[in-house]
């Protein structure tokens, strides 16, 4: 494996890590506010479908993105109503949302396009295309740094850069703004926030809605940038890998970037090699696919660095009466 091969693998890792990163940050907002969200998968899937459908229908990928985000927001609102307003079980609500998305995307897709749950192939302006960063071609010839800039960092769709920009933005919002401080507080000790005269319900709804927007972008990226159209169950467990990455990152934004990139790398390696030879032992691809989940279990078990979730996570807040 030479240098250019490595660049290529890292390049596809970045591509594959992007939806994970967006979904992971989405989960981060929700869970830091104390709302568990195992419905990331469903929200991504719903957005992937509606964004591809609208992009195919209107021929404009930006309208597609908007529709995808709206679809994801609808599901996020259901989650909010169930788990904040009616104080229902957040995990069960998440499970329901995942099934709702699996079912509705295929039922509506079949009725709309009649292609067995697929949307038509997206072309031209109905897709996000790769953009070349300035001077990429000019400095490709520079040794080492040239290929890194021109082949690894340049040449992705706009949503990849949006996702990368979301990392410092999330960090800044959570740790440098008043809203972020309150959001974190509501996930640790909602009663204290309530005593200070700030609406727990309002903050948690805000967090769930931000989660909806980010999942929406992740889904739209899957269907209109990473591939060219929607296919049945195309999120393929990415929502759960994002959840794993969130735990792996211990609910922190920069670590989320690292974790999702690692999981993206594992997927890229699995796609490229049928089996990997490491120190004389052949590692089957299935092991590579299972590795994110195994690593998460190990982290959760606390044998290697303990992952401590937000304290009030998963518990509905009941105001004192």
């Amino acid at each position: 494996m030479d240098f250019l091969d490595i660049i290529q693998i890292l390049d596809s890792s970045l591509r594959l890590a992007t939806p994970l990163l967006l979904a992971c940050l989405a989960g981060l907002f929700s869970e830091r506010a104390g709302i568990f969200d195992i419905g990331l998968e469903g929200k991504m899937l719903a957005s992937a479908f509606l964004s591809a459908a609208m992009a195919a229908y209107t021929g404009n990928v930006w309208l597609g993105l908007l529709a995808g985000v709206l679809a994801s927001l609808m599901l996020a609102a259901i989650h909010g109503v169930a788990s904040i307003t009616f104080r229902g079980n957040q995990l069960i609500s998440g499970v329901a949302i995942n099934f709702l998305a699996s079912g509705l995307t295929v039922v509506i897709g079949e009725a709309w396009f009649g292609l067995g749950g697929r949307t038509p192939q997206l072309e031209g302006a109905a897709r996000f295309h790769e953009i070349t960063l300035p001077f990429a071609d000019a400095i490709r010839g520079v040794p080492f740094l040239g290929p890194i800039y021109a082949d690894l960092l340049s040449g992705h769709s706009i949503l990849v850069y949006v996702a990368l920009a979301c990392v410092p933005a999330t960090w800044w919002i959570l740790s440098r703004t008043r809203f972020g401080l309150r959001l974190r507080a509501v996930g640790e000790n909602p009663a204290a926030v309530d005593t200070a005269g700030i609406s727990v319900v309002g903050l948690r709804f805000a967090a769930v809605m931000i989660c909806g927007v980010l999942c929406g972008i992740a889904g739209a990226y899957l269907a209109t940038a990473l591939s060219a159209g929607f296919v049945k169950e195309m999120s393929a467990g990415r929502g759960f890998i994002a959840l794993a990455a969130l735990i792996f990152a211990k609910w922190r934004p920069w670590q989320a970037l690292g974790a999702t990139f690692l999981f993206g790398l594992l997927e890229a390696l699995g796609n490229r090699f049928q089996s990997l030879e490491l120190m004389g032992i052949a590692i089957p691809t299935q092991f590579m696919q299972a590795l994110p989940y195994i690593l998460t279990v190990v982290i959760l078990a606390g044998f290697v660095g303990k992952a401590i979730p937000p304290r009030a996570g998963g518990e509905p807040y009941v105001k004192e009466r």
């Binding site: 009616f86 069960i92 499970v95 329901a96 509705l104 039922v107 735990i247 299935q286 989940y293």
Partner: protein, 370 residues
């Protein structure tokens, strides 16, 4: 708020209201995509219970869902949410396949006992690690069981495509067919006069599922262990005060849960496919969540809810054939809505009904007073 509801309303009325709500919302979805919801409902009902053919499949699915529903229900009693049914049932399938492929068993009656042990053991083993991590390390069992579903799926693909693959199976990842001697009698063999076709998937494991219902009822309400599981689930501190070890109950409840879910493979792997294929579970582990929620974690309720979902799954398959532009995934929508209304939006449904009962009760009391 629960006290204001009579018991029959809690176990019968509310699940029915939830089901009706789920059906109304799915009906609206069907109407919005330009189809006739009543026609869809007719095809659903007719396809599932309108013929012996339909009943054969309906009860076959019911058998699967009884096992997974009971498993989830036992965990619910200990206030544990076992979302890992998919993985546990797949591993149960592996247990069944290993027993039937490598043990020379002369007759199905012996084979079903050995295979049940294998299925329950493997299913329980797959639940054991998340249970241990929850009990001893405090890792959230919902997350670990989800992760174990994915690990199980990768493991099964690996085993079927590299280890257990039969030479010359045409590349499709599956094991060799089990020998004819261990084939479970199906409904046609047992009662040909009922009109089941020769190839009906309904088989004797249906009776095993009924026995499992009785077993769970006796376990939860008639044994000391069941009492401990319930009191631990109602209040962990109270259980601890009463001398109930949280580690022991978490482990035992999850082992029983995983074992019951693993038993599903007797029906799907031994009874129907007669070999181990990729994904023998087909979502039944998740349906178990809906079944347990709707059945209020009671074996009788689980049986009725499993029957309902069995009918939905069979009828949903018919929808795809009978109605142009309609797909079986509408079942997933109904399933999602049932889970949503019974599990997450319970307070939304319960509060107005409780209010109605409260006013009904107050009126006669006022009259007696005046």
């Amino acid at each position: 708020m629960t006290e204001s509801l009579p018991k029959w309303a809690d176990i019968l009325l509310i699940p029915l209201v939830n089901l009706v709500l789920a059906l109304i919302v799915s009906g609206i979805v069907v109407a919005l995509i330009g189809k006739d919801p009543f026609e869809a409902l007719y095809i659903l009902v007719n396809g599932s219970v309108g013929s012996a053919y339909g009943w054969g499949y309906t009860l076959f699915y019911t058998t699967n869902f009884i096992f997974t529903g009971l498993g989830v229900a036992v965990a619910f009693h200990a206030r544990l949410f076992n979302i890992g049914g998919e993985g546990q049932a797949a591993l149960g399938g592996l247990g069944v396949a290993l027993v039937l492929l490598y043990l020379p068993l002369p007759h199905w009656s012996l084979a079903i006992i050995a295979a049940s042990l294998g299925a329950a053991l493997f299913g329980a083993a797959w639940a054991a690690i998340p249970a241990y991590l929850q009990a001893q390390r405090g890792s959230h069992i919902v997350i670990t069981t989800i992760m174990f579903n994915f690990i199980a799926s990768a493991l099964m693909v690996y085993l079927l495509s590299r280890v257990l693959l039969v030479p010359g199976a045409g590349g499709s990842p599956e094991t060799a067919r089990f020998v004819e001697a261990v084939r479970l009698p199906n409904a046609y063999d047992i009662a040909p006069w009922l009109g089941f076709s020769r190839s009906t998937p309904l088989n004797v494991s249906f009776f095993l599922a009924l026995a499992a219902c009785v077993f769970v009822w006796a376990l939860i309400w008639r044994t000391r262990l069941g009492y401990e599981i319930r009191s631990f689930g109602k209040s962990e501190p109270a259980g601890l005060y009463g001398g109930i070890s949280s580690t022991r109950i978490t482990m035992v409840a999850m082992l029983i849960s995983g074992g019951l879910i693993g038993l599903m493979a007797i029906n799907s792997v031994m009874g129907e496919a007669e070999r181990l294929v990729i994904d023998p579970v087909q979502g039944a582990g998740f349906v178990g969540i809906a079944v347990a929620l709707m059945g209020r974690s009671h074996p009788l309720g689980v049986f009725l809810a499993a029957l309902l979902f069995g009918a939905l799954y069979q009828g949903g398959g018919e929808l795809t054939f009978e109605m142009n532009g309609m797909t079986r995934e509408i079942i997933l929508v109904i399933q999602a809505l049932v889970i949503l209304f019974t599990g997450a939006l319970d307070n939304m449904v319960r509060a107005p009904i409780a209010r109605v009962f409260l006013t009904l009760r107050r009126k006669p009391a006022q009259k007696a007073g005046s």
